[in-house]
Assembly symmetry: C2
Homo-oligomer: 172 residues x 2
């Protein structure tokens, strides 16, 4: 059975600490609601499910929780490649510099047009795509969608396009 | 067999006249390349395949060819509902006023946040979604994606979300 899931935003605002520290013996004491499954917790779980690779092609990346998810995967030894838009990468709050400093491989599309994609491929198998940029406004305010699928006819073209854009933006 | 298709942009620029007038006896004499199938002609064909209904939920709609496609469907008696973002609808070049004047049912999301979706549901059966706004820049310049699928597990949630947003933005 092929996995499919659709998530809509804005997401309810809820604590996501348990997603990063599921085995913690201490409860979280922050002021947000706890124990709530939301569109955003589901998105984080899909990203964190990566065990070998994460290919991310994203126009805007400023969301701290998604940045934490990518850094967590990196610390687990997951191979991460991030392709982003050069204009947005330079904006205050962009997480691209943080990822680079952590040693994650980032390439900026240097063309004069927008690299407007917002997709990720997890383990070369699971596609996560939609209208949602990886920003706080997109997650908590805007009306947005994310589509998750393992259907090879949908996943494979995105893998191929990622490869094409990745090679084309080789800074070397 | 379930239909799936992925289109990437920017699209090659080519004449789309034959898509609107397939039975014309006269060849087109415009200066664009002819007889070329592109991501954009495929997108237009998917939209024009509607025989009973088109539900469109789109942040930005200024593309003249896509506007012509929607007007063509309207003239064929296809039931069209357009939900759009109030801020973008007021921008110069927006096709929303043109659609309204033609008698197409349009609702603007009046919330203070962005209605950032870019999806269409054709005949309650085919989902067309992605990063692509219905603008000329998105089609001809940006790096963008469109995903087309008939998979019910993906289509049904979008139908449900369209209904929810449509009812919520009833001006009456
Ligand atoms: Zn907490
Ligand atoms: Zn022509």
């Amino acid at each position: 059975r092929t996995l499919h899931e659709v998530l809509f935003f804005p997401s309810e605002v809820a604590c996501v600490e348990h997603i990063f520290t599921p085995t913690s013996a201490h409860p979280c004491f922050c002021s947000l609601p706890h124990g709530v499954e939301t569109s955003f917790t589901r998105l984080l779980r899909r990203i964190l499910s990566a065990s070998s690779s994460l290919d991310l092609c994203i126009f805007a990346f400023s969301n701290m929780d998604l940045s934490r998810a990518v850094l967590t995967l990196h610390s687990r030894g997951v191979t991460i490649r991030v392709l982003t838009d050069k204009d947005y990468a330079a904006i205050t709050g962009s997480q691209i510099g943080v990822l680079r400093k952590a040693g994650i491989c980032v390439r900026c599309d240097m063309g004069s047009v927008y690299m407007h994609h917002k997709f990720a491929v997890v383990d070369g198998r699971l596609l996560v795509t939609g209208s949602l940029n990886w920003t706080l406004t997109a997650v908590q305010s805007n009306m947005e969608n994310i589509l998750v699928t393992e259907e090879p006819e949908l996943v494979q073209p995105f893998i191929k396009e990622f490869h094409r854009l990745w090679v084309r933006n080789d800074p070397a």
